[in-house]
């Protein structure tokens, strides 16, 4: 199980580890600035989560990914049970039943962890499947089922932000593994065909508002467009070098909504400016790049696809969150991993990094097992 082999330590991904440490430090500094006026509550809690996450990351990295592969479907099944549990016994916050309460300190959001278990399950499916040609829709019924089950449960909460990331991550994985052109065309046609009735019958008025407001934030500057406008004012007024640590007026005077969660990056961009923003962006991109590199060196399909899946999780969280903060995408409740305050998403991200670290450490075959090439 856990191999405390010297070779493992030698192959440990120090560079990813330090990049993650640096990135987590930036995230914590940022939350410090956000919450120092109100007793550092968010900062302290997030500090605990980051420490727990890093410990978990290290522990997970010493778990052989083959073991994860072995138990992937059990882990997946357990996380589905958690989703069902949350629908029945969960705590309702802001109209969504997404949380399991663990006493006064913590609440757990199972939908975040589902991202990982789903990645593992999809990777397991492709690992066990030996098809080399692109998949047709019918052949994909298994992975689509693996995706559809948690997706449906999450939509029932409802938590659109997480549902969106589930679709983006799993979609990236399925596309990466190859899909027949005709199937892609079929799905695209279906989406376009369904979008009109979906807009009118499935989306709630507030969701329609978000899309409309994204297209034109000034149509309602004090209502739905307020968040988008204030966030862009914050980012823009940061200028090249920023207003300085704890000196962002948009942040400190609370013009930015959800500063500790969804709009944490606009705080960072305001206080550290273009220079700080791009630095964080480069760091984040290098982390993803390192994961992609790990995928390319992986010794089996499972390891490769898990690395790719976790990389795409990081990627989509960045795109959707920062895209929203800087006004390129509509406002959706998708956090920026580790930057946004939240135990579950932080733990999920760091455990994911742990899995990739574990895969990286085991790029050489372990004694007694033959390398599997497919």
């Amino acid at each position: 199980m856990i191999m405390l082999d010297r070779r493992l330590l030698k192959n440990f991904g120090w560079s990813l580890f330090f990049m993650i440490l640096t990135y987590s430090t930036l995230a914590l500094l940022n939350l410090y600035s956000v919450s120092y006026q109100t007793g550092l509550n968010y900062f302290k809690k997030q500090l605990v989560w980051v420490i727990c996450g890093i410990v978990s990351m290290l522990l997970i990295s010493f778990v052989n990914y083959r073991t994860l592969r072995q138990y992937a479907l059990y882990i997946y099944g357990f996380s589905i049970l958690a989703l069902i549990f949350v629908l029945i016994f969960g705590k309702e916050v802001a109209g969504a039943r997404s949380w399991i309460s663990l006493g006064s300190f913590a609440t757990i959001q199972p939908s975040e962890f589902v991202k990982l278990s789903m990645i593992l399950a999809i990777a397991k499916f492709y690992h066990d499947d030996y098809q080399y040609t692109p998949y047709g829709l019918v052949e994909l019924y298994k992975p689509l089922l693996l995706i559809g089950l948690p997706l449906g449960l999450i939509l029932m909460q409802p938590d659109l932000g997480t549902a969106l990331t589930i679709i983006l991550i799993s979609g990236s994985m399925v596309l990466f593994m190859g899909v027949q052109k005709s199937s892609i065309l079929f799905v695209l046609t279906l989406i376009i065909g369904l979008s009109f009735p979906a807009w009118h019958y499935a989306l709630k008025p507030y969701q329609q508002d978000r899309v409309k407001t994204f297209l034109d934030p000034s149509r309602d500057p004090l209502g739905a467009g307020y968040n988008a406008i204030q966030s862009q004012i914050a980012v823009g007024s940061g200028g090249f070098l920023g207003k300085g640590f704890r000196s962002g007026s948009q942040t400190q005077l609370r013009f930015i909504p959800a500063r500790q969660t969804d709009f944490a990056f606009s705080v960072f961009a305001e206080e550290w400016g273009f220079a700080g923003g791009v630095f964080a962006l480069i760091l984040y991109s290098l982390i993803i790049l390192w994961m992609i590199d790990t995928a390319s060196r992986a010794k089996d399909k499972f390891a490769m696809l898990v690395s790719f899946g976790i990389a795409s999780m990081f990627f989509w969280h960045l795109m959707v969150n920062v895209g929203m903060v800087i006004g390129l995408l509509p406002i959706t409740g998708v956090p920026l991993l580790i930057f946004s305050y939240g135990g579950s998403s932080t733990m999920t991200a760091l455990i994911g990094v742990g899995i990739v670290l574990g895969i990286r450490m085991r790029k050489l075959p372990v004694t007694g097992e033959s390398m599997v090439f497919r």
Partner: protein, 603 residues
């Protein structure tokens, strides 16, 4: 796995493109449009609050306060800090005598906009209410007492007609004056309006950092962005008016409709300027309410019209001074010329009557003025002709504004050209005849009459009346000073004026003089009575009084003139009977004040 490696290359490219898109957007927002957004964020957090400057005071010639400011204690509630709102509404409603629904409604209305902006509950609460609230301050979390300035009038309605009133700005005010804001109060009439620029002062402002909810932020954060400016109080206006004389004048008028003006004959300083009926300026201090305003403007006695400067009346016989001066100067008569008055005067087919139907018999100029013989001046007028008479009217200041500064009418000094323009009709000789005795088209204000009287008294200098002596800044420096201002030197020789002055002394002091009721035993008063017919041009429905307007204009002491007093009583009857005793009262008050002042100076 090779197959997947090439796909991972594509993935890396996608990652790179995504990175560039985000970085480019950051560059656009932060560097290209950074300054613009920096301005937005400043606007976001800095709220400017205006600190209105207190209005200047209005003082009498001795520095006594006629118009001042007093603190108005205004009660506000801050919804955000309100605890146990029901209880607070209840006790406030009891103390302030406002219904609970009213208070609740005001708060609910304001909360819709912001919980962090104070809501005005009651303006200008009285001392008892203030004491009650102050004593229970801790029971009213969220209650704010703000002190603002309101106009106060220590002498009540005294001088209201020339002091003027204040009112809410109009659209026109807002457009013409950039320093005026909606809901401001500014001068609408009188001194308050004419000296608005001095009285107004300069508003200051404070800047506050506010958070997203509009709350003032106390922390040291962002203090360097803030600037404050103190307000500069408006200048005080020092009047030429003497409160004591003004009081005497208003008391002398009493309930009678009319006007009294007293001026210094040598400087033109206005010592008293009374008009009745008047209004109470207190009604205007917070901006007048609709009902009171309607009442005032629909009042048929026109309380908002300053009769001393805006009231137009036929001058009647007081106008004979003008005709006499014109006649002497033009050589139409000399002091010795005698005309016979049979009690009427025939011109063509028309007969003009003297007020004394029995006739005055043979009279010279002196007697004609003393007895106010009409026929004598009919003859004079016929010889002078309207062109000449009109010129002298204008020389004495009629038909034009005196330049007093506050609202005034110019009146009518009729001429051929005037009539042609006004009525498109030629001038008739009969109209010249009646003009000489101050009837017909002639229309004057009491102010014009008193300035004429002063000019006769001081040897022919027509002065501009001075209502305001100076404006004094808050720190005590004189910012504007008004000195003696001569309008014209009336082109009548001083010996000729001396004849008229003699006659005016006779009016009061000679046996048979019409103005004997203004006589003093210890010094000489000069004056002229007037009884102006109310021409039936006035066709304004029912209740029209056809009684004559009573005039008396005078100066004293006759040998060394100091003060000129003009009295007009609307529909009062005979000037000598009604107006002369009132003028005597004013002169008596003036002499008394003079003696008191001398006694003070000597003590």
């Amino acid at each position: 796995m090779q197959n997947y490696r090439s796909r991972l290359v594509i993935v890396t490219v996608i990652l790179g493109v995504a990175f560039l898109v985000i970085a480019a957007r950051l560059w656009y927002l932060q560097v290209l449009r950074g300054e613009e957004f920096e301005k937005f964020s400043l606007d976001n957090r800095i709220r400017i609050q205006r600190v209105p400057a207190p209005r200047g005071r209005i003082l009498d010639r001795n520095g006594r306060e006629l118009v001042v400011n007093r603190p108005s204690f205004d009660i506000y509630l801050l919804p955000e800090d309100l605890r146990e709102a029901g209880r607070i509404h209840g006790s406030l409603s009891q103390i302030l005598q406002i219904s609970i629904e009213d208070i609740k409604g005001k708060v609910a209305q304001a909360v819709k906009k912001s919980r962090f902006k104070p809501v005005l509950i009651a303006q200008d609460i009285n001392r008892d209410q203030l004491a009650l609230i102050e004593a229970r301050r801790t029971l009213f979390p969220g209650l704010i007492i703000e002190v603002n300035n309101l106009r106060e009038y220590p002498y009540g309605k005294l001088g209201a007609s020339f002091l003027g009133y204040i009112g809410k700005v109009t659209e026109a005010d807002l457009n013409s004056n950039p320093n005026v804001y909606s809901n401001d109060l500014l001068g609408k009439t009188g001194i308050e309006k004419a000296w608005e620029n001095s009285l107004r002062g300069e508003d200051g402002f404070t800047q506050n950092v506010t958070d997203a909810l509009g709350r003032n932020v106390d922390s040291k954060l962002f203090l360097e962005d803030l600037h404050n400016k103190n307000s500069i109080p408006g200048d005080d206006i020092l009047l030429a008016v003497d409160i004591d004389l003004q009081k005497a004048a208003e008391e002398a008028l009493g309930e009678q409709f009319g006007a009294i003006v007293a001026v210094n004959v040598n400087s033109g300083e206005v010592l008293a300027l009374a008009s009745n009926p008047s209004y109470d300026p207190v009604d205007f201090i917070k901006g007048i309410d609709h009902d009171t305003w309607n009442e005032l403007i629909n009042d048929k006695s026109f309380p908002l019209v300053n009769r001393a400067t805006q009231g137009l009346y036929a001058p009647g016989s007081v106008f004979k001074m003008v005709a006499a001066a014109a006649a002497l100067k033009e050589g139409v008569v000399t002091a010795d010329t005698v005309h016979h008055c049979p009690g009427y005067y025939k011109l063509g087919t028309h007969t003009f009557r003297c007020w004394n139907r029995a006739g005055h018999g043979p009279v010279n100029l002196h007697q004609a003025l003393v007895q106010s013989c009409d026929v004598y001046f009919y003859k004079v007028a016929e010889k002078l002709g309207i062109n000449s008479l009109s010129k002298y009217m204008k020389d004495f200041g009629f038909g034009s504004r005196s330049g007093i500064g506050i609202e005034e009418q110019s009146g009518v000094a009729p001429s051929r050209e005037w009539k042609q323009k006004r009525f498109k009709k030629p001038w008739y000789q009969g109209e010249t005849i009646v003009s000489a005795i101050g009837q017909g088209y002639v229309n004057v204000t009491p102010l014009q009459v008193v300035m004429m009287t002063a000019a006769v008294a001081n040897g022919g200098v027509l002065l501009k009346p001075t209502l305001v002596k100076k404006a004094v800044t808050y720190s005590g420096e004189t910012s504007i000073e008004y000195s003696v201002n001569i309008r014209t030197q009336i082109p009548v020789d001083s010996e000729m004026l001396a004849h008229i002055q003699d006659a005016l002394v006779g009016v009061v002091n000679d046996p048979g003089g019409t103005g004997w009721r203004a006589r003093f035993s210890d010094f000489l008063v000069a004056g002229k009575t007037g009884t102006a017919q109310v021409v039936s041009l006035d066709t304004k429905g029912e209740g029209v009084q056809y009684k004559d307007h009573a005039w008396f204009t005078s100066y004293a002491p006759a040998d060394k003139p100091q003060i000129a007093v003009t009295v007009l009583i609307e529909h009062g009857g005979q000037g000598g009977v009604v107006a002369a005793p009132i003028a005597k009262q004013i002169i008596r008050a003036y002499i008394k004040l003079l003696k008191e002042k001398n006694a003070d100076d000597n003590a």
